[in-house]
């Protein structure tokens, strides 16, 4: 019997030897910290009649309900551009990948799109977690991501174009609106992750500088649905308004509880920054009618461009579908990319970066213009009220597009908030 153990201890020794060999091989390996590494060679093929781009959205998992709508909007824009003759006379070929609501999958698929499919650019991402996961991939491989969702700001990567709102195009206008309507005290409710926490840090700084009292600040886990305690506290606080940065399903539970205890929009309005046309149906119009939201686009925006967009979307995906801000921002991002390519007369990343400044698009929300310095776009801010048909109607809008300021450098009261690199 003793004999039987011998060969395996040798196997152990052998693999230990392999380990040491691998370790010592590593010692004479590649670049050390501080060495210049050559940027990865781009493998984008611009010789044919088509040009490949990627769409990376969560088509499965918890975010699928939101992100599939963005995917639809990207497809619509690509189809329209192709029907009109393509980009630089090339038809766009769209490669879909599923981010599966998981940051690691987003990183994996982004790398696959860049290195295996050799796409010229990628459109997609929704959560900040997915963007943070993809950012190093796009920087390391020197490729381009167009990110279509409003977010917490404090970021400006050379390799990302942010076509959704940053904080000074959504949260600050929402606060300005509340202040204008005479709100003197607010209560903050949010999901526990980076966007609500950053948003609330900004709100606290704003409130301190504008004589508004913050009566409470509560967070629940993402997806959390128990709001009895929080809503009781909100009710007891007697605040003039609630600022809601909850995300996803939590909104359903929050607004049901809110109307259950008898709170109404007249008594204590709720300003939300993550509730769009898609979400209203899930919450139930009766629970949320009259409440406020802050975005840059609503389906009801009155313009010829928007009615064409809404009609085209309904024709492609069904008359019962609605259009929302992130969808519109994703739709814009494809057009902005195409316009930049046409201006640069090149699909190369460096040429697009060099020519992006000032590129504009007559979008459903109005004119949007790329800022070449921070890669965000100038957008019009709009406060909307939810009405009984489940749609949002503009009650206030900014005078023209607001210049993006992701690090809030133009606001004295925000000086302590940001650390610029």
């Amino acid at each position: 019997m003793q004999n039987r153990f011998k060969p395996t201890s040798r196997a152990l020794a052998a693999s230990a030897a392999i380990l040491i060999a691998a370790g010592s091989a590593a010692a004479c390996g590649g670049a050390r910290a501080g060495d210049e590494t050559a940027a990865a060679e781009s493998c984008v093929d611009t010789s044919g009649d088509t040009i490949k781009v990627g769409a990376l959205n969560s088509l499965s998992g918890t975010m699928a309900i939101s992100e599939t709508t963005v995917n639809d909007a990207i497809h619509l824009a690509v189809d329209e551009i192709n029907a009109a003759g393509g980009v630089m006379d090339k038809q766009i070929e769209l490669v879909d990948e599923d981010g599966a609501s998981e940051p690691t999958v987003f990183a994996e698929k982004a790398e696959k799109l860049i290195r295996e499919d050799c796409v010229a650019s990628v459109f997609g991402g929704w959560t900040s977690a997915s963007r943070k996961a993809m950012l190093p991939v796009f920087e390391d491989n020197d490729s381009l991501l167009y990110y279509p969702v409003q977010y917490e700001g404090l970021e400006a990567s050379e390799n990302i174009f942010y076509t959704g709102a940053t904080t000074n195009q959504q949260i600050i206008p929402a606060l300005d609106y509340l202040a204008e309507t005479g709100v003197k005290s607010i209560y903050l409710v949010g999901s526990d992750y980076v966007f609500p926490r950053t948003a609330n840090a900004i709100i606290n700084a704003y409130a301190a500088a504008h004589d508004i009292e913050v009566l409470g600040e509560d967070y629940v886990q993402l997806g959390g649905v128990d709001f009895s305690t929080i809503v009781q506290q909100v009710n007891a606080s007697g605040a003039d308004a609630v600022f809601n940065t909850l995300n996803g399903d939590s909104n359903v539970a929050f607004f049901r509880e809110y109307s259950n205890v008898g709170l109404t929009a007249e008594e204590m309005p709720v300003m939300s920054v993550s509730i769009a046309e898609e979400e209203v149906g899930g919450i139930g119009v009766e629970n949320i009618e009259g409440q406020l939201a802050a975005w840059n686009y609503y389906q009801t925006v009155e313009s010829d461009v928007n009615s064409t967009f809404v009609e085209a979307f309904k024709a492609a995906y069904g008359a019962d579908r609605v259009t929302s801000d992130p969808m519109e921002a994703a739709y814009n991002s494809v057009y902005l990319w195409a316009a930049t390519v046409e201006k640069a007369e090149s699909f190369a990343v460096a040429d697009i970066q060099a020519n992006a400044d000032g590129v504009s698009f007559e979008s459903p929300e109005g004119t949007v213009v790329i800022d070449g310095d921070n890669h965000h776009v100038a957008k019009t801010a709009r406060i909307g009220e939810i009405q009984s048909d489940g749609l949002l109607y503009t009650v206030w809008e900014s005078e023209g597009p607001i210049e993006p300021d992701p690090f809030l450098e133009g606001y004295d009261w925000a000086a302590d908030l940001t650390v610029t690199e």
Partner: protein
């Protein structure tokens, strides 16, 4: 016993098995796969290392460890903390605050981060912390004879609680987790040569871990572990403390998961609560179940097969792959309860049966 399996249990067979695997992993794969695919394969190998541990604890020891994400996550976060400290130090000098903390509004380095500037401390922590935690938890649980479904529920709840705990920690990146690593022990991660080297390190660790598992299976301890799995009462009546036997297997599984997590971080470039909660923990178990939990290589094959199938299916059918994957699980579990590793044995039985029928027909 067939000639093939006899060969692989002989002294020569084991050597040639390891040599063959080494040639495949170090020689053939790097030639066959592009840089991106090799990186992806390295990620799969990390899952395989976790699977070897589960094969030991569950396959041999009968403990359904539904919460290996906890130990995987511990190893991963400990490694991520070191990489972030090294990055910050390289950019802004010693004691600098990692970039994601600046965004979260944390201006001074939390005290518990400081020791992770040391690579030696980090590696020691990766090896010791999860193992020690598993030993303590194992003693508390197995000494009180918690087993079966109760143990499975407990370990799964632990994974859920751990993920929730991490989401609340802004100084560990919260929901977003930790990403954007530039250097791995002084080497630039974004360099093809170093990426291949990372793959070699992961592959070498996997071989070493399989050898460790083989050693344990063939030792006296391995026999005892199987005995505990099959009849814990009898082992106790024979005078052994069955709890101690289980604790060892559980702690080894935790150690392997932690090592895998630590390697996962530089390979994939991100760790977040989404990679370590309940769902990823179940995916670890699924791989092992599909490969064959009780065999030596079954867990490895299963983990690789599940990860490969997930990637390939989702690339081919981005919007419908989850259905295909679900179907695959049902088919394998319904038709192959012993997993992929049981195919040779099944084929043999099928041949025997046919032979027997042939004999009956001629009689």
């Amino acid at each position: 016993m067939s000639a093939v399996s006899k060969f692989f249990q002989s002294k020569f067979g084991i050597w040639s098995g390891f040599a063959g695997a080494a040639v495949a992993l170090f020689g053939i794969m790097p030639l066959l796969l592009s840089g991106f695919r090799l990186g992806l394969f390295a990620q799969f190998l990390c899952y395989a290392i976790v699977a070897v541990g589960i094969g030991l604890a569950w396959g041999r020891g009968g403990m359904l460890t539904l919460g290996q994400g906890v130990y995987f996550g511990m190893g991963a976060y400990l490694m991520a903390m070191h990489l972030k400290m090294a990055d910050a130090e390289f950019r802004n000098g010693p004691g600098a605050v990692p970039d994601f903390m600046e965004l979260a509004g944390i201006r001074s380095l939390p005290a518990y981060w400081a020791p992770f500037a040391s690579p030696v401390f980090t590696i020691a922590a990766i090896l010791i912390l999860p193992t020690a935690f598993a030993v303590l938890l194992g003693l508390a649980v197995f000494k009180r004879r918690v087993k079966g479904a109760y143990f499975a529920i407990l370990s799964q709840a632990l994974a859920g609680a751990f993920a929730i705990l991490l989401i609340g920690q802004q100084s560990l990146g919260g929901f977003n987790g930790i990403s954007r690593f530039q250097y791995f022990f002084g080497y630039t991660i974004n360099d093809p040569v170093n990426q291949q080297m990372l793959y070699f390190i992961v592959a070498a660790v996997l071989l070493a871990v399989v050898a460790l598992s083989l050693q344990l299976r063939r030792s006296r301890y391995g026999e005892l572990l199987v005995a505990v799995r099959d009849s814990e009462e009898r082992v106790r009546f024979l005078g052994y403390d069955s709890a101690n036997i289980k604790v060892v297997a559980y702690a080894v599984a935790a150690l392997l998961a932690s090592i895998a997590g630590a390697l996962f971080v530089p390979v994939v470039g991100i760790i977040s609560p989404a990679s370590i909660g309940i769902v990823p923990s179940i995916m670890f178990i699924l791989g092992v179940a599909i490969g064959g939990r009780a065999s030596l290589l079954g867990p490895v094959i299963g983990a690789l097969a599940v990860a490969w199938a997930q990637t390939t299916l989702s690339e081919q059918f981005p919007s419908a792959w989850t259905y295909a994957q679900g179907l695959l699980f049902i088919v394998v579990i319904a038709l192959l309860p012993g997993g992929i590793a049981s195919i040779p044995a099944l084929a043999k039985r099928f041949r025997f049966k046919n032979n027997a029928e042939a004999v009956e027909a001629t009689a």
